[in-house]
């Protein structure tokens, strides 16, 4: 009997290599787990049949195009759409022998922090199914924590990998912008979107990052990346870690979250890291506002292609204009519509300079503020989410409260920097996530620090209710 709840990708690979289990048995074990637990959790929008091979199974967020496998991005407007080509990241997983288990749930077009904006219904948190798994990549994060997949791919625009990983108690990396190809990934906000791995351990996360990262000739914004180092050491001597005041003392951070993160920071110091306070005042004050101009502006343009002409939903109309309006009225949910309106406004003639133009300038300020801080530190640490997983429905009717879920993840996303969520404890029986932020291309440092912390904290990533 394979215990998918506890099994890491690394140990699964070892079991297959040692021929203790076959690849097909492994795949079947995950299908069984999905059959058992997904009716309650609703992590998957589509489950695949076993593909040939001995590779480790993987779940992929439904904004990532997969050839021959439906890809909806959580939207009705793409219901029934089956890509004719693989996203580069999906193709790279295949090239490494990884076998697609299925497509995971997401807020519609990755717009949201709870999966409640999915047109196909929300996912549930495996630690407490009355609570959200976070979002937008709640399906991937919940699937990994519930043992429905050893690891998964997510996508992160303003926190969609890091925040669900925090709320579900696993490891998620948002890589440096430009290190992972966006080709074939349904675009939300092109200058912010990055695909990244979700896993149970930092080592698994680093390995999966090595699979998907690197220059792609189909994505002009990608670059070559330094060789990925799978972390081994628990020694953090010589590593300088900054604790940005504004990200650790922001209004709305729950005491239980602060307690767990503070304890972890002490642990970092105990491992030999030099820990000191620092400050990112403007990044935190203006980050959210900046993000909510840039992301909707790009989204308003990116989502314009869903016009009913070539694929996906079409609602008939008397002429082209009416057909497009009906299609988008019927096919898009409230959140995409809200952001399209915000973004269209921000780009409109006469408002562009005041909104989009200013946001771009602020973005530069935020980047420079981070650059300056990283002259003194190798990594920064803070909570990933101000709160633990919140109940379904708690913020669903209040977009602004929902947007604040990403307060701590957004500034570094706007700066294009990598961020790693590592679970650091529980608060009221729910996981607390710690966020490590580094300068551009510092993934190896984040893996090193994350791995050391993971070893020291020995967080049990199996949700308490599933433990035997």
């Amino acid at each position: 009997m394979i215990d998918t709840l506890r099994l890491t990708a690394e140990s699964a690979k070892e079991l297959v290599r040692a021929k203790e289990i076959s690849g097909d048995e492994l795949f079947a074990a995950y299908l069984d787990a999905i059959g058992e637990r997904d009716p309650e959790l609703h992590c998957f929008l589509h489950v695949c049949e076993a593909s040939p091979g001995d590779g480790i199974p993987i779940a992929i967020k439904d904004v990532i195009g997969t050839k021959g496998v439906p890809t909806t991005a959580g939207s009705k407007i793409l219901e029934g759409y089956v890509p004719v080509y693989d996203a580069t990241v999906a193709a790279r997983c295949k090239e490494h022998g990884l076998r697609l288990l299925g497509k995971t749930n997401t807020d519609e077009f990755a717009m949201g922090s709870s999966t409640e904006n999915s047109a196909y219904g929300p996912s549930h948190n495996p630690w407490d199914p009355t609570r959200v798994p976070g979002g937008s990549g709640g399906g991937s994060a919940a699937a990994v924590s519930a043992g429905l997949a050893p690891w998964a791919l997510g996508s992160d625009t303003g926190g969609s990998i890091k925040q669900p990983s925090a709320l579900c108690g696993n490891v998620g990396l948002r890589p440096t912008y430009g290190t992972v190809s966006r080709f074939g990934v349904v675009a939300f906000a092109s200058s912010l979107d990055q695909v990244g791995p979700v896993a149970k351990t930092v080592r698994d996360c680093a390995y999966l990052y090595s699979v998907i990262s690197g220059r792609d000739e189909n994505d002009s914004t990608t670059v070559e990346v330094p060789p990925v180092e799978i972390p081994e050491s628990a020694d953090l001597r010589g590593v300088r870690i900054g604790v940005p005041r504004e990200l650790n003392e922001a209004e709305g951070i729950e005491p239980g979250v602060t307690a767990a993160v503070s304890a972890a920071i002490e642990q970092l110091a105990a491992l030999g890291a030099e820990v000191d306070e620092c400050s990112l005042p403007r990044s935190v004050e203006y980050g959210l506002a900046c993000y909510y101009l840039i992301a909707p502006a790009e989204a308003s343009s990116n989502l314009a292609r869903y016009d009913g002409v070539r694929y996906g939903l079409r609602s008939e109309g008397a002429d082209f204009r009416e057909m497009v309006m009906n299609t988008r009225h019927d096919g898009l949910g409230d959140e995409p519509k809200r952001r399209i309106m915000l973004g269209t406004y921000a780009l409109s003639s006469g408002y562009y300079d005041a909104y989009y133009g200013t946001a771009q300038k602020v973005r530069t300020v935020i980047k420079r503020e981070h650059d300056a801080v990283f002259e003194g530190f190798d990594a920064l640490v803070c909570p990933t989410s101000p709160t633990v997983a919140f109940p379904l429905g708690a913020r669903a009717d209040n977009p602004l409260a929902m947007y604040l879920s990403d307060l701590l993840t957004i500034p570094s996303c706007v700066a294009g920097l990598p961020g790693l969520n590592v679970p650091c404890g529980l608060s009221d029986g729910l996981p607390v996530g710690l966020q490590l932020i580094g300068p551009q291309f510092s993934e190896n440092t984040l893996f090193r620090v994350g791995h050391a912390l993971e070893q020291a904290l020995a967080f049990d990533y199996v949700p308490a209710r599933y433990r035997r």
């Binding site: 990532i64 195009g65 890809t71 991005a73 793409l78 759409y81 890509p83 004719v84 080509y85 996203a87 966006r182 080709f183 074939g184 990934v185 349904v186 675009a187 906000a189 092109s190 200058s191 000739e217 189909n218 994505d219 002009s220 914004t221 502006a297 790009e298 308003s300 343009s301 314009a304 292609r305 016009d307 002409v309 070539r310 694929y311 082209f320 204009r321 497009v324 269209t344 780009l347 409109s348 003639s349 562009y352 989009y356």
Partner: protein
């Protein structure tokens, strides 16, 4: 009051690169609908553009040919609007940081050179093609729109001129010259019928001597240069009539029927479209390396405008214009270089040679020069036959030069007398002052002699016999 027209042009030229602007689909005309498409040019979810290096270089080359400054940093923008032929619902174009800007094109005219400012030359992608069909399959009463995405995403250079043109004829000359420049640079077929060159014309008028810019109208869909000249002339006249009647010209677009020059254009109000330009986040800025720009500059030969100006110093403007626009000037130079008189060479090339349909590139200039020199000494028929074979491989003028025209008056006089006797009416008219008829009599004599007569002797004898020498 006298009026001055103010004309500006916006020209689109399709580059004939092997692949499209942002994907690897074949860039070709005439494939079966929707066969030259891929996820990128169909705007499937997740597809991303990758710029065509060749297209960027060709745009720079054209910009250099137009005297433009090549930007150190150029960026692409998204121009957002919904239309069935625009699959992403935005066109990737350039906005405030184009590849090329601030150039000029000197247009030679009979009255001297006119310098036309080039505001910008930028690179963008073409839209697809909408085909409106009715259930019967005909255009009339269309009930459905089909979209052919083969053209979608092909590279397009947009050239915008300053409003420096003031008459229809110069505008036409500018367009012809630009077309020839683009074709000679090998960038485009620039065929108006195929749509690989298209242009819009902005027209306004103002009191002569004033420098104000009045309301303009935009003329679209004129698919020939003559059509354009005619359309511009009519629009200038109309605007003058409007002002002289005390009215004002309204800003509007005039859509011509490309199949019928004479049908009045359909007018539409110009709606102020908000394209919500956005720097294209899927692409990085283009930084053309100096060595590439230098290499491209080195690939540009003497351009047609400069050649007209140079040749007009030797010949008339008219001859220079005909030679260059007819793509005959290189052969002309070679023939002159081989010893023919410039004027004779030009006359032969512009008239008999063009009529012969021979490819100028296939001609041995030395042999042609011999023919031109001997033109008056050999029979007309022999000359024409020689010209018709001038492009044949290994063509030699010698056998034709050996044929001497009949200059013997004793042989020619009987023929001349016969011709005069057979045409008494024309003889009377000539004697009454219609001297132009001389050519008619020469032609008749040539016909009778099978083209062997020496035209100079025939001319002289005819004048003598007709009593006017």
């Amino acid at each position: 009051m006298t009026w001055e027209a103010v004309i500006g042009l916006e020209i689109h030229v399709q580059l004939k690169t092997r692949t499209k602007m942002f994907c690897r689909c074949e860039n070709g005309f005439g494939g079966a609908p929707n066969t030259q498409t891929c996820p990128v040019c169909l705007a499937f979810p997740g597809a991303l553009p990758v710029p065509n290096r060749r297209a960027v270089e060709e745009t720079i080359k054209l910009g250099l040919a137009l005297g433009c400054t090549v930007a150190d940093r150029a960026i692409f923008h998204r121009k957002n609007y919904f239309y069935p032929d625009l699959p992403k619902a935005y066109q990737i174009s350039q906005y405030d940081e184009p590849l090329c800007s601030n150039g000029t094109l000197a247009v030679p005219t009979p009255d001297g050179e006119i310098t036309v400012g080039i505001i910008r030359a930028h690179l963008e992608e073409d839209a697809a093609k909408n085909v409106h069909v009715a259930e019967s399959g005909r255009l009339h009463g269309a009930t459905a729109t089909l979209v052919d995405f083969n053209r979608g995403g092909t590279p397009l250079v947009e050239i915008v001129t300053a409003p420096d043109l003031h008459d229809a004829d110069t505008a036409k000359r500018f367009l012809q010259l630009l077309r020839q420049t683009v074709v000679e640079l090998g960038l485009s077929d620039a065929e108006l019928e195929k749509g690989s060159m298209r242009f819009d014309v902005n027209v306004s008028v103002r009191p002569a001597g004033s420098d104000e810019l009045r309301t303009r109208t935009e003329l679209k869909n004129m698919n020939s240069f003559n059509f354009a000249a005619k359309g511009i002339e009519r629009e200038i006249a109309r605007q003058i009539r409007v002002y002289e009647a005390g009215d004002v010209v309204e800003q509007e677009t005039l859509h011509f029927d490309p199949t019928n020059e004479d049908s009045p254009p359909i007018r539409s109000k110009e709606e102020a479209q908000d394209y919500r330009y956005l720097p294209e986040p899927d692409l990085v800025p283009v930084h053309p390396p100096a060595e590439v720009v230098d290499r491209l500059r080195g690939e540009i030969g003497e351009l047609p405008g400069a050649r007209i100006a140079r040749i007009a110093k030797t010949l008339s403007f008219y001859d220079a214009d005909v030679l260059v626009t007819g793509d005959l000037d290189r052969l002309w130079s070679a023939v002159v270089g081989a010893g023919a008189s410039p004027k004779d060479a030009a006359n032969v090339l512009a008239n008999q040679f063009v009529a012969s349909g021979v490819d100028p590139a296939a001609v041995d200039a030395t042999e042609l020069a011999k023919l031109v020199r001997a033109r008056g000494d050999i029979p007309r028929a022999a000359f024409d036959t020689a010209l018709a074979h001038a492009g044949d491989p290994g063509f030699s003028a010698e056998p034709y030069l050996a044929q001497k025209a009949v200059a013997d008056v004793d042989q020619l006089d009987p023929v001349i007398d016969r011709v005069l006797a057979a045409n008494p009416g024309q003889v009377e008219q000539f004697r009454g002052g219609k001297e132009g008829l001389l050519g008619f009599f020469v032609g008749q004599v040539m016909k009778e002699t099978g083209g062997t007569a020496d035209a100079r002797v025939v001319n002289q004898r005819l004048r003598e016999k007709l009593g006017r020498s």
